[in-house]
């Protein structure tokens, strides 16, 4: 993801931050609208409609028509689309057809769980990437570097659901020390607040590792490369020449520059994790957006599918926007040009 001309000071870039923001916001809004429209028509193009979930139960035609009328499915598609847009403009996401409760409520219930999981995964990813990436970069080609790079390759080459199954096998089956699913134990209510937090942390560990380990491999390589590159630049050599300790050179001068691009990576990882945790959520019975989306698609729950997709798109677009802004805030060169 390259930086926009406004931030890198391209020849025709608008020099004002406000102008940049306005353009980015407008583009984001249009993108969101395009996603909403695309998803609406794609979902309706899929075979079967929500009343199909009743089919096996032998509802008759009359009942099906009653339901189709009630849910507005008997109206022309264009009209359904306009009605949905009009409701959306008023902040209404509608009612889930399968669960018969507001889409917004389902989103509000599932989002915190996914957010927590994404936070845990980010902590694992960046914790491991920073520790091992910097360790590897200290002596490129050395024993530690080779071992760490090989290890990272192992995790990068395995999909998160596989890592998840292996973690369950190791820590919940062969050596059953961690819970294999859910956010809480059956009797978590009987525990003290501290006990409940502890319980939650234990439940969070395996799914966070499953998601985080996969991404940690590539992030680690990114950190290593960036640190090696920066440590070879002139100003680091100048710092060394001034007699600064190696530790100070690395921590004060080196890392600050090496890790600035990591901020953008961080901001981009987050929405990706929010949206990409479907299989991990299913394996660990984590009550988040991924599972909700899976169930919604299977039951052709149009309003819920649309609500969830729109929310995901919103988070991705917001993440991209934040990534650019964070980059601008962290990098003095970018600030100067803006």
């Amino acid at each position: 993801m390259g930086l926009p001309p406004a931030l890198t000071g391209g020849p025709r870039g608008d020099p004002s931050v406000a102008g940049f923001l306005l353009r980015r916001l407008t583009a984001s809004f249009l993108l969101l609208f395009a996603v909403a429209t695309g998803v609406f028509f794609l979902v309706h193009a899929a075979p079967g409609d929500p009343t199909d979930v009743f089919e096996g139960q032998r509802i008759n035609r009359e009942q099906r028509e009653t339901l189709r009328h009630l849910y507005g499915l008997d109206r022309p598609l264009g009209e359904q689309y306009l009605r949905w847009l009009a409701a959306l403009a008023q902040g209404e996401l509608g009612l889930s057809l399968a669960q018969q409760r507001p889409v917004a409520t389902i989103l509000a219930e599932a989002f915190p769980a996914t957010l927590l999981l994404a936070t845990g995964a980010i902590a694992v990813e960046f914790g491991i990437a920073l520790l091992l990436g910097i360790a590897a970069a200290r002596r490129p080609g050395g024993y530690a570097d080779q071992t760490i790079r090989l290890g990272s390759l192992v995790f990068v080459s395995q999909p998160p659901f596989w890592i998840a199954l292996m973690l369950v096998l190791l820590f919940a089956h062969l050596w059953p020390v961690l819970p294999a699913s859910h956010m809480r134990s059956v009797d978590a209510d009987l525990l003290s607040p501290a006990g409940r937090a502890w319980d939650l942390l234990r439940h969070l560990l395996l799914p966070s590792l499953a998601l985080g380990l996969y991404n940690a491999g590539s992030t680690l390589r990114f950190v290593r490369g960036s640190v090696i590159e920066v440590m070879g630049t002139d100003y680091i050599r100048a710092a060394r020449a001034r007699g600064l300790s190696e530790r100070r050179v690395l921590w004060v001068h080196g890392l600050r520059n090496a890790l600035t691009p990591l901020i953008q990576l961080f901001a981009l990882s987050f929405p990706q994790l929010l949206n990409g945790a479907l299989l991990t959520e299913i394996i660990f019975a984590w009550p988040g957006l991924g599972r909700a989306t899976f169930a919604a698609v299977l039951s052709r729950d149009y309003p819920l599918i649309l609500g969830l997709t729109l929310f995901s798109a919103f988070v991705v677009i917001l993440g991209n926007l934040l990534a650019d802004l964070l980059q601008a805030a962290a990098d003095p060169r970018v600030r100067r040009h803006a």
Binding site: R58, Q63, L178, V186, A285
Partner: protein, 551 residues
């Protein structure tokens, strides 16, 4: 450098995280009283944790599609007038009193009178009366409620309240499943739920949860979406000393293998259904047991009769002869957990004609029949053809059902031996349903269930082509007559000769090729006693379950 080599979490913290006892999992409340474990005396108290791959959609089953887990919950919280027993192997299912303590028929068999128990109260203390029974019927048949089983009430003219404990069902005609139809649907709380007009029910699924009540042995204490539902003892339940358990927790775990892992770990005590492969792992554990029972599902290849390829009964019979069903069953359902299907009247049902044998695997005979019908390999490419058209079709099955997908591949190989090209195609379930309903398919591996009414009209009557499950478009006036006649018997036991005739005609016609009947395998921890999961329900008589204290 030392700082950088440190673990992300201090080792002590990590060890503490891994110590199960510190976090309270497994710290369930246990029975407080009663005899020692294993002496067979039921003990009051304790929690049973059960695991499910799906979740109930709501607690008012009139407005949500029926799901297995949903029914398990609804039937523990609400009750029927009478309880159908799972004793249909040797004779028609019998009924035991539930909310009604007795019932009787009028002489013309058109009026059914139920006498309710006198001590019935809802969990809020309000008496449960005949008014609730009448109002529940009104809800069941209201067009705006659009209950998916409303068709079962089409011959009930009125439900009359005689007095608070007496209610009369008036039928328009006499037929075999009158009691089943009257009993279908749970008795719901009029005083609480009539506050929301029927017209508003479909838009207010959560309203019923917020206004939840119970008349059964358990009530719903809490429900966390995508996580768990907790049932607790209903202290106002009519049956004395029941239920034994304090709590039953339903944990929702979408991944079946993860569910089995939790059973093996002891995190979960009961799973309603495990795969044959998982059942093997469960049996290896002394503290666990598998409870098998025959399901009410038959799986078959449905041939689309509106396609010329499958319009001829002899050709369909040849297809059945060309499929080695025994080897399919032995591969997919090892250890005797499945058997070759013969008829929609399952072999575990009293009305099945036990003299009827499945068609054998006989590819030579299949080739002979097909040749007599003009299907020959004219161009020597190994495939049969007739009038320049090859015997080639698509065989659909649904994604996520491994047994059916594997069967499709085996059928492809077997039919190839007789020169027929079947191309398996796996579709997402809703897409498969849409394609088969609209008739846009050649053949599909599908499953269907039968209930104890043994009315096969829904699948095989020609009127069910339009409104029903006869999506394969089988039409036989002779069979229609037999189906109508069987359903019209006053006593279902009298329908046995007709049901045998129906079976024999379906056997000859092979509108579908019956593949298999299989067992359902429930898995349970031996600390749970008196659990009798069966075809009626996994939670059958949940009020009788009890647990011994953990060692």
């Amino acid at each position: 450098m030392n700082r950088m080599r440190r673990l992300p979490l201090p080792p002590l913290l990590l060890l503490a995280l891994l110590a199960p006892h510190l976090a309270g999992c497994g710290a369930r409340e246990e029975p407080q009283q009663g005899g020692p474990a294993g002496d067979g005396t039921p003990q009051r108290g304790g929690t049973v944790v059960t695991g499910w791959t799906t979740e109930p959609l709501g607690i008012n089953d009139l407005i949500f599609p029926t799901t297995a887990v949903g029914s398990e919950v609804h039937f523990r919280v609400f009750q029927h007038l009478v309880e159908e027993q799972p004793d249909f192997a040797e004779h028609p299912a019998t009924f035991k009193p539930q909310l009604a303590e007795s019932w009787e028929w009028s002489d013309d068999h058109k009026v059914l009178t139920f006498h309710l128990r006198k001590n019935l109260v809802w969990s809020d203390g309000v008496p449960l009366t005949a008014e609730d029974v009448r109002w529940s019927w009104q809800a069941q048949v209201h067009p705006a409620v659009a209950w998916d089983s409303a068709y079962m009430k089409e011959h009930i003219r009125d439900v009359e309240v005689v007095d608070p404990q007496t209610v009369r069902f008036h039928f328009t005609r006499v037929y075999a499943k009158q009691l089943l139809d009257a009993n279908e649907g749970l008795i719901l709380p009029k005083h609480a739920w009539s506050r929301l007009p029927f017209e508003k029910w479909r838009e207010n699924g959560t309203w019923f949860f917020e206004n939840r009540l119970a008349a059964g042995p358990f009530r719903i204490e809490s429900w966390t979406a995508q996580q768990e539902m907790v049932l607790v003892r209903n202290e106002r339940y009519w049956e004395k000393e029941r239920p034994y358990l304090d709590r039953v927790v339903l944990r929702f775990v979408p991944d079946a293998s993860s569910l089995t892992t939790q059973l093996l770990n002891g995190e979960i005590d009961f799973i309603a259904q495990v795969s044959p492969a998982d059942a093997k792992r469960v049996r290896e554990r002394p503290e666990l047991q598998v409870i098998p029972f025959w399901s009410n599902l038959f799986v078959a290849v449905a041939w689309n009769h509106s396609r010329p390829l499958f319009a001829d009964a002899e050709v369909r019979r040849a297809l059945t002869l060309a499929i080695d069903r025994r080897s399919i069953v032995e591969t997919l359902w090892p250890g005797g957990t499945g058997r070759v299907g013969i008829s929609p009247l399952l072999q575990s049902v009293w009305a099945h004609d036990k003299t009827l044998q499945p068609w054998p695997y006989d590819p030579a005979e299949a080739r002979k029949i097909l040749a007599a019908r003009g299907w020959k390999d004219g161009d020597g490419d190994g495939l049969l053809d007739r009038g320049g058209k090859k015997f080639s079709f698509e065989l659909l099955s649904n994604a996520g059902n491994q047994a059916r997908n594997d069967a499709a591949v085996m059928i492809q190989q077997q039919l190839r031996q007789v020169g027929i090209e079947a191309t398996p195609r796996i579709l997402e379930f809703n897409t498969l349903v849409a394609d088969t309903r609209s008739g846009h398919f050649d053949a599909a591996i599908t499953g269907a269930t039968i209930d104890t009414s043994l009315d096969l009209s829904g699948n095989f009557h020609s009127r069910s082509i339009q409104d029903g499950d006869n999506f394969f478009r089988y039409s036989s006036p002779a069979l229609d007559r037999l189906l109508d006649e069987a359903a019209g018997q006053k006593n279902i036991a009298d329908a046995a000769p007709l049901l045998h005739q129906i079976e024999h005609q379906l056997h000859r016609d092979q509108p579908v090729t019956f593949l298999w009947e299989s067992q359902r395998l429930a898995a349970i921890n031996r600390r749970v006693h008196d659990a009798r999961p069966n075809l009626q329900s996994a939670f059958f008589h949940l009020q009788d379950w009890w647990v011994s204290p953990r060692p």
